[in-house]
């Protein structure tokens, strides 16, 4: 049995690998109040919670931790989470408690209480800045609680947009991949996967065709560490398709007319005006040929439907703000089988 642990944040994620099988165990790590555990005590606690008294044959960890006492537990020294994600090399957005990672670009430790105005910009309701500041300052002290109310959920989603946008702004080069894996608490645990599609579209603002996968078990950082030390083991897990395909998105900055050929006698026609966001119900694994035409361009592509169908985003510059209308367009739509 091999353990690969993502140590950072409010909840440790333990990837437990037994032969060909694997599962992810989440271990909440409590608050930053007292009493507190030392890092070796915490690691011992995580392992105990994940596998009881069983002795793993190897333990790998990602996290900004360093202590001589850790040699007792670890097969290899702890890896920096950003470094291991970079080495892993999969296109990914990870919004973790301590890091925000976007395709090899990353930021550490954003103080969100100091970014209340930016966060407010992404909220579909009015709120006092002091409430935003207090909410995120309290999360620093009590990172473990999960959002429950609509307001808490939207605050966290708005903060995720700000964090991802910051990475993009810090390293202004275009996203060159045609897909991305979304991971980290606010994304992986989203109440509705369509919310993830909206967060990714708002924050990454891709152009043209783009595919979104979701890491629902938040295993990506732990899998990245595993891949550094046991590449074949990580590949075996990847071969089992551990990520949920949310679906393709097609983004343009103008009005677009689409013909979606599902193999039926007549293709379905769809007109999406500038400023609109539409979810087309293309079922999971269902293939479609799509031809599109705008004032300045035309073309065609093939897509496969995902959990959230096919999303057409013609919001253009309007993508930099939040609207209840767009949220409803995506989040009230029917979802398909994974």
């Amino acid at each position: 049995m091999i353990l690969s642990i993502d140590f950072g944040g409010a909840v440790a994620k333990v990837l437990v690998i037994k032969g060909e099988k694997f599962n992810v165990v989440e271990v909440p790590l409590g608050f930053r109040t007292r009493p507190r555990m030392s890092i070796p005590e915490t690691l011992r606690y995580i392992i105990k919670q994940a596998v009881g008294d069983k002795k793993p044959s190897a333990v790998y960890v990602s996290g900004e931790i360093a202590s001589v006492e850790l040699k007792e537990f670890l097969t290899e020294p702890a890896l920096d989470p950003i470094e291991s994600l970079e080495k892993f090399g999969l296109p990914a957005v990870v919004v973790g408690a301590g890091i925000t990672y976007v395709n090899g670009r990353a930021r550490r430790g954003d103080n969100l209480a100091l970014r209340a105005e930016e966060i407010a910009h992404w909220l579909p309701f009015g709120i006092k800045l002091s409430e935003i500041q207090n909410f995120f300052a309290n999360k620093e002290i009590y990172p473990q609680p999960i959002p429950v109310t609509d307001k808490e959920i939207k605050l966290e989603e708005a903060a995720a947009r700000v964090r991802i946008r910051s990475v993009i702004t810090d390293y202004p080069s275009p996203i060159t991949t045609d897909y991305i894996i979304a991971s980290g608490g606010v994304l992986s645990k989203a109440s509705n996967p369509a919310r993830v599609v909206l967060m990714i579209l708002d924050a990454l603002q891709p152009e043209g065709l783009f595919n979104i996968f979701l890491d629902r078990s938040q295993m990506l950082p732990a899998l990245a560490v595993l891949s550094v030390f046991e590449e074949r083991g990580a590949q075996k897990i990847l071969d089992q398709n551990p990520f949920t395909f949310l679906g393709p998105t097609f983004s343009v900055s103008e009005e677009v007319f689409l013909k979606i050929d599902l193999g039926l006698p007549e293709p379905q026609e769809l007109e999406v005006a500038l400023g609109e966001l539409v979810l087309f119900p293309l079922e999971t694994r269902k293939l479609a040929k799509v031809s599109f035409k705008t004032k300045v361009q035309q073309g065609e592509f093939e897509v496969e439907g995902g959990f959230c169908g096919l999303t057409i985003d013609a919001r253009g510059d309007e993508r930099t703000k939040m609207s209840r209308e767009w949220e409803e367009a995506l989040c009230s739509a029917r979802l398909f089988k994974k």
């Binding site: 409590g30 608050f31 009493p35 800045l129 999960i146 808490e152």
Partner: protein, 270 residues
């Protein structure tokens, strides 16, 4: 269901209080001396002679010649969650109830030298006035993040940001020791209330009130356990676990309301 343990008050048999006089002072005690709160431990010879008291009952365990002494004492430590400002000391003054604001109107010249206790600080003006009249520090349940960032006054928040009430048991304890000379260490997130070794009654009172430090960081949540809630709508409120379900817990809040929250959103109060 395992939940994080939060210990608000700890009895520490071996607490240390440093009494610092500054350069070129003369110490009046030696290692091993037993001292009481009003005994002088040193003096500074300047234009006017200034003397410093021990502040607590205890034993002198270390001397830094010409500068400071370290007194070992027994104390109750009130633990906060975040503090700012320099170490400070003063007399405890209850300035508001456990869930009430410390109002601007209660702060006057008579508060000079005091450590104010109350539910929360509602505005930056309260901090400013407190500083202006010579208040030595504030210990409260919470205040807004922006006020906390801007104030220079020694401050300890016992629960967090916003307007969470100061934990009821902590408040009752501080009420019992109102007027006591205490030591605020924002950096250490603690308020040290030394016991009077020769005052049998207060000694017993403190010992009864306070458990020694717990070792466990997580504990099994059981019905009837005292908890604190950390969802935004009830942030910082205390109560009791009424029913423990698979992933959630029903909490009967101190105010009488019953709510259901995820188990991850509560802490066990020890």
């Amino acid at each position: 269901m395992l939940c994080p343990v939060i210990q608000k008050i700890v009895f520490n048999k071996k607490a240390f209080v440093e009494r610092r006089l500054g350069d070129e002072s003369r110490l009046l005690v030696k290692k091993g001396d037993k001292v009481r709160p009003f005994d002088f431990v040193g003096e500074i010879r300047d234009t006017v002679r200034q003397r410093l008291t021990a502040g607590v009952s205890g034993e002198i365990v270390k001397l830094i010649p010409g500068k400071a002494v370290l007194v070992q004492t027994s104390a109750v430590i009130v633990r906060g969650v975040i503090g700012k400002g320099e170490d400070s000391e003063g007399e405890i003054k209850i300035a508001a109830g456990d869930d009430a604001p410390i109002e601007l109107s209660v702060i006057d010249a008579e508060c000079a030298g005091d450590i104010l206790i109350g539910g929360y600080v509602p505005t930056l003006e309260v901090f400013k006035k407190a500083e202006a009249v010579g208040v030595k520090g504030i210990v409260c349940g919470g205040t807004d993040f922006a006020c906390f960032k801007k104030t220079a006054l020694s401050t300890l928040l016992t629960e967090g940001f916003g307007r969470p009430p100061l934990n009821r048991e902590v408040f009752e304890f501080l009420k019992r020791v109102e007027g006591r000379h205490v030591f605020l260490s924002p950096d250490q997130e603690g308020l040290l209330v030394a016991i009077h070794l020769d005052g049998e009654e207060s000694h017993r009172e403190l010992l009864e009130a306070q458990p020694e430090e717990v070792a466990e960081v997580f504990a099994e949540l059981k019905e009837g356990t005292g908890v604190q809630v950390f969802t935004s709508e009830n942030f910082g409120q205390g109560g009791k676990a009424a029913k423990v379900l698979k992933d959630t817990v029903e909490v009967l809040l101190d105010g009488g309301e019953k709510i259901e929250v995820p188990g991850r959103n509560v802490g066990i109060i020890k």
